[in-house]
């Protein structure tokens, strides 16, 4: 049984990863494993819900496009992929990575794919945060000498 917290972490990472970056990293994998589709890649919509400040009442933020895919490796391991956008190949790759992470190939997959992906996503996030931080304005009131 795979640790579900760890699995949640890589599912989240794959769901948000840009298709191009994952496709590029996928080239680094030695051989593509054999698999059969349980559910061929299909495009649908999911409602994204939000809460103000984590304490407000939930509200529907809007719909987003989601592509999902389920497949089974030759060894019988089942992988599911849910990714944002309409890229079917991306959903299939995400499902393959999920399946591989539950097999003996987990360590290699983690090293070749997930760690660079995690680093890439973190650097994008840091760059964006730095860009936003550069525009930060501190408001202060100067003493006007009235008192």
């Amino acid at each position: 049984m795979v640790d579900q917290t760890a699995r949640k972490d890589w599912m989240s990472l794959l769901a948000k990863a840009p298709a191009g970056v994952l496709a590029e990293l996928w080239q680094g994998m030695e051989d593509a494993p054999e698999f059969t589709h349980l559910r061929a890649p299909e495009i649908g919509a999911a409602m994204v819900r939000g809460r103000m400040g984590g304490t407000g009442a939930p509200f529907n933020l809007g719909e987003m496009t989601v592509t999902r895919c389920s497949l089974q490796l030759g060894c019988g391991t089942v992988g599911h992929g849910y990714v944002q956008g309409r890229d079917k190949a991306h959903a299939e790759r995400a499902a393959l990575v999920d399946a591989l992470m539950q097999t003996e190939a987990a360590a290699q997959t983690d090293m070749v794919l997930l760690q660079p992906l995690r680093a890439k996503m973190a650097s994008v996030r840091t760059a964006r945060a730095a860009k936003a931080a550069a525009t930060k304005v501190d408001f202060f009131t100067m003493a006007r000498g009235e008192d």
Binding site: H37, L38, R39, A40, E42, S70, Q72, G76, V78
Partner: protein, 187 residues
């Protein structure tokens, strides 16, 4: 969730579902006619025909009721994975699946309202075999047709409710037949 309940869906959903829908429509339009369907392999004890009908007709907006032996975890998981249909009690179900003994009394199921006769349940009945038996007449039948039915009185009473009432699919193996509410059954 076991891997086997994830298998057995349509390999090519648009084509397989269209072919199966055509068969379902054909048997409903011509009561007594028996068609063979394929493409889906549900877990036991569900028959192939019932599984194909579920894959074709059910989605998250069609509440399903499972009766008797069919109400088991593998069948529930399979329907959830492939269709997303919710499971409900008999009175709110749009589709009910089970053996005839488990589905009776059929008065539990919704027969629609005078404004919306289409808001009625469709019963998918698992049978041992389909064949000739009781005499049928009505729309879609030129002179008379013949279909073996588990009972007679229930279907005669159902026809009296028209335009309300239940519709039935009968499944055995990969064969499917149907009895809409319009058909008159003679003993």
């Amino acid at each position: 969730m076991q891997a086997e309940v994830l298998q057995g869906g349509f390999a090519n959903a648009p084509i397989d579902a269209a072919v199966a829908f055509r068969a379902a429509m054909q048997v409903m339009a011509r009561p007594g006619c028996i068609e063979t369907v394929s493409g889906g392999t549900p877990p036991a004890p569900m028959s192939v025909a019932a599984g194909v009908l579920v894959l074709t007709l059910c989605d998250p907006e069609t509440p399903v009721h499972l009766a008797g032996a069919l109400d088991c975890q593998p069948v529930r998981d399979w329907i959830t994975f492939h269709t997303g249909a919710p499971f409900v009690d008999a009175d709110t179900a749009m589709f009910a699946i089970g053996c005839w003994e488990d589905l009776t009394p059929v008065t539990r199921f919704a027969i629609g309202t005078p404004e919306y006769p289409d808001r009625s349940a469709t019963l998918i009945v698992e049978c041992d075999a389909l064949g000739e038996g009781h005499r049928l007449s009505g729309p879609g039948i030129k002179d008379t047709a013949s279909l073996a039915l588990p009972e007679v009185e229930v279907f005669q009473n159902n026809a009296l409710l028209f335009p309300l009432g239940l519709d039935f699919f009968f499944c055995a193996g990969d064969q499917v037949a149907a009895l809409p509410r319009t058909t008159k059954v003679e003993g």
